[in-house]
């Protein structure tokens, strides 16, 4: 369980590092380049809009001044008398119309009191009285005049270009009507994207051209904004009082000087770009509006694409990081286990031999005192049978205590006998031994026990195994110890013990492998030590493996072990082949 948590933590840590390392540059680059790109793209779009609008401003101004200069030329070249002749005037109009298409609708000469004295055109407006007309009042006070667009007498949108002349004390105007459609098309041609369009308003906020797309801002609001932009130069970041009142969003206006401004307005959740520029010496204002989402469509599309790529890349990175990390930690786990299994314990022979001799000596010396103690206890027992003691109330206790001395004496005896057999062999005569036969014999002996413990014993014996030089009874003891240990390690849960015999170079190798609980690393180097046992007191003497070790070593062989906790243990006995 502890291991599992360790490897899970390892997986998480590796995945986190991979994710961090992959994400950091990705996000950093995305943010930095994204920001730079957005800034410069916005600047570029806005600059383009300003340029476009300014170009059209020039075009429109040129258009107007051109038309004005024709009329001025006419008025200056010819006298009132000449121009008052309708035939002459019509001739001039025809010439203008021929040169410039239907832009000039009509020409007229208006005298000081507002009466049109001469007229050329399709509408028969001779003797029309303009004295009350707004344009006339303004035109009569200056040298030349271009009116706002109005419906006029003919109920058609148009505007008037008028030039004032003073001749021999007489004041008169030469006026021309400019076709609204021709003028309108100039402005209509400013089309960008789906929502970008332009229109012209005058100072009062009246439309001078037909907006193709309904302007977002009302006329009054536009006027206010323009006034404000003019006054402040820049209204950036401030909510316009009117917009605030109308519950609209933020307005950002950058003054570009003298009625020219560029700004963003947010209305009803939509952002609009506004570019304004003065026309006709500031009497008119050209306004270009466009949905921000339309103006920056490419930018937003790129941004969505980038976000999508980052998101997908991110998911990919996370998935790959976790898959790789868990695969890697699985490899580490396997490697760790293999490492543990490979960690063969070769025992220090010298230390073990001396400990064994010492143990044998002690065992022998202790055996006699124990025998005496047991006999003395037996003697007391004998005496207790005599009649004097039969009535003693502690008789049962005495008997129990004596019995205990006898039992413990037996235990000591068992230990010392095993110890002594560790030092001196039962039948140490070495002869030619076929290990396979021996293995089968011992497996037969342990069958009962293994069946009881629900342990399956698998044999994989090399039929061509050469004989080894060993004492059969000693080898029996070795195998018996190892198989019993294997069965003990498996416990009651059931498992498998595999015994294989094989030839490895000059040695015969016997492997006894179990699927038991394994030996913890900490105690692995001590398992061959005499008296080292993990069994409860009284259950094991701790001599089994040291006896095995002593026997195998004496025969010029070697015994090694590898074990992994939870996986099992395998012991390997290497014995020299007989006659080599």
């Amino acid at each position: 369980m502890e291991d599992r948590r360790y490897y899970q933590a390892l997986t998480r840590k590796m995945a986190m590092i991979m994710i961090l390392v992959s994400f950091a540059p990705l996000l950093l680059i995305s943010v930095i380049i994204g920001h730079r790109f957005e800034t410069s793209y916005r600047e570029k779009v806005l600059a383009h809009l300003v340029e476009l609008v300014q170009k059209h401003q020039q075009n429109i101004n040129i258009f107007l001044s051109e038309k004005l200069s024709f009329i001025q030329a006419l008025a200056n070249t010819f006298t009132y008398q000449e121009l008052s002749r309708e035939v002459f005037l019509t001739q001039k109009l025809k010439a203008l119309q021929k040169a410039y298409g239907g832009i000039f609708v009509d020409l007229g000469v208006v005298v000081e009191d507002g009466i049109q004295t001469a007229y050329a055109g399709a509408l028969k407006l001779e003797k029309a009285d303009y004295s009350e007309a707004d344009w006339f009042r303004k035109a009569i006070t200056r040298d030349f005049f271009i009116s706002d667009v109005f419906l006029g007498l003919r109920r058609q949108p148009h505007f008037i270009v008028a030039v004032k002349r003073e001749e021999d004390g007489r004041v008169w105007l030469l006026r021309a009507t400019i076709d609204f459609e021709a003028f309108n098309s100039l402005v209509e041609s400013i089309r960008i994207g789906e929502t970008g369009s332009a229109f012209i308003i005058n100072r009062e906020g009246e439309f001078q051209t037909r907006p193709l797309i309904a302007p977002v801002l009302g006329e009054e609001l536009l006027r206010q904004i323009l006034v404000r932009a003019r006054e402040d130069g820049s209204g950036e970041g401030q909510a316009h009082p009117l917009i605030e009142k109308m519950g609209m969003g933020m307005l950002r206006v950058e003054g570009l000087g003298h009625d020219a401004a560029i700004g963003e307005v947010m209305l009803a959740g939509r952002d609009f770009l506004y570019v304004t520029t003065p026309l006709k010496s500031g009497e008119w204002i050209l306004i270009f509006q466009q949905d921000e989402s339309d103006a920056f469509r490419n930018l937003y599309q790129t941004r969505v694409l980038a976000l999508f790529i980052i998101l997908m890349g991110g998911i990919g990175i996370v998935v790959v990081a976790f898959v790789l990390a868990s695969r890697m930690s699985r490899h580490v786990e396997e490697a760790d286990r293999e490492q543990e299994m490979m960690n063969e314990q070769v025992i220090e022979a010298g230390k073990l031999a001396s400990v064994g001799e010492l143990a044998a000596g002690i065992a022998h010396e202790i055996n006699n005192p124990i025998a005496i103690m047991v006999e003395e206890a037996g003697w007391i027992g004998d005496l207790l049978h005599e009649e004097d003691f039969q009535d003693s109330e502690n008789l049962a206790e005495f008997k129990r205590a004596l019995d205990q001395i006898r039992v413990q004496g037996e235990r000591c005896k068992e230990i010392t006998h095993k110890l002594l057999s560790f030092a001196r062999r039962t039948d140490p005569r070495v002869r030619e031994v076929q290990m396979n036969d021996l293995i089968q014999e011992i497996v037969g002996v342990t069958e009962q026990r293994s069946r009881f413990s629900n342990v399956k014993i698998n044999l994989d014996l090399d039929p061509s195994l050469p004989a080894v030089a060993a004492s059969p009874s000693e080898m029996q003891q070795v195998l018996l110890n190892l198989i019993n240990n294997a069965i003990d390690a498996i416990g009651t849960g059931g498992g498998e013990v595999s015994i294989t015999s094989r030839v490895d170079g000059e040695k015969v190798v016997i492997d006894v492998q179990d699927t038991g609980h394994g030996i913890p690393k900490a105690i692995l180097p001590r398992i061959f030590d005499p008296f080292f046992t993990t069994k409860p007191v009284g259950k094991g003497t701790g001599l089994g493996l040291s006896i095995c070790y002593g026997i195998v070593k004496k025969l010029g062989g070697e015994i090694t072990v590898n074990s992994a906790v939870g996986l099992g243990t395998s012991f390997h006995i290497h014995l020299p082949i007989h006659g080599r």
């Binding site: 006699n368 005496i372 004496g409």
Partner: protein
């Protein structure tokens, strides 16, 4: 039935003493010796049926003593007592003519049974010898 004479041989004095008490209590006549040489002396002087002999003793050890006993008193049965778990020594002893071997510490009742068995065997031997002698005498008389 005649009392069984048993000679107990061991270099461990307290062991010999206690065993003497216990076996005496079980109606055996116990003679004691604390070494192999001493045991042979006793055998020469006294009538002994069974010898209980410790294998490991200083000086003349159990096996050697056994050899001597069997040489001088072939009819005396010997039970070996060994502190060693080695079947080896036991078997060696048996080969040399010991009746049986027991491991120390041993159960008193087991020992007693062995002694009785050994005594029985010795008696049977002696009986046969007596019979043989009677037969011999009878043959001689019948000439």
């Amino acid at each position: 039935m005649l009392s069984t004479n048993v000679l107990l041989v061991d270099d461990e004095v307290p062991f010999v003493d206690t065993m003497t008490k216990r076996l005496t209590k079980r109606n055996l006549t116990i003679l004691t010796a604390y070494s192999g040489a001493e045991a042979l002396d006793v055998l020469r002087k006294k009538q002994v049926d069974v010898v209980i002999l410790d294998v490991k003793m200083p000086g003349m050890d159990g096996i050697e003593t056994l050899r001597e006993i069997k040489k001088e008193f072939p009819l005396v049965e010997v039970i070996m007592l060994t502190g060693h778990a080695t079947i080896e020594t036991g078997i060696e002893g048996m080969k040399l003519g010991a009746f049986d071997y027991l491991m120390k510490p041993c159960d008193i009742e087991v020992l007693l049974a062995k002694v009785q068995e050994a005594k029985g065997k010795k008696s049977a031997h002696e009986e046969k010898i007596t019979q043989a002698r009677i037969h011999e005498i009878a043959l001689r008389r019948g000439d």
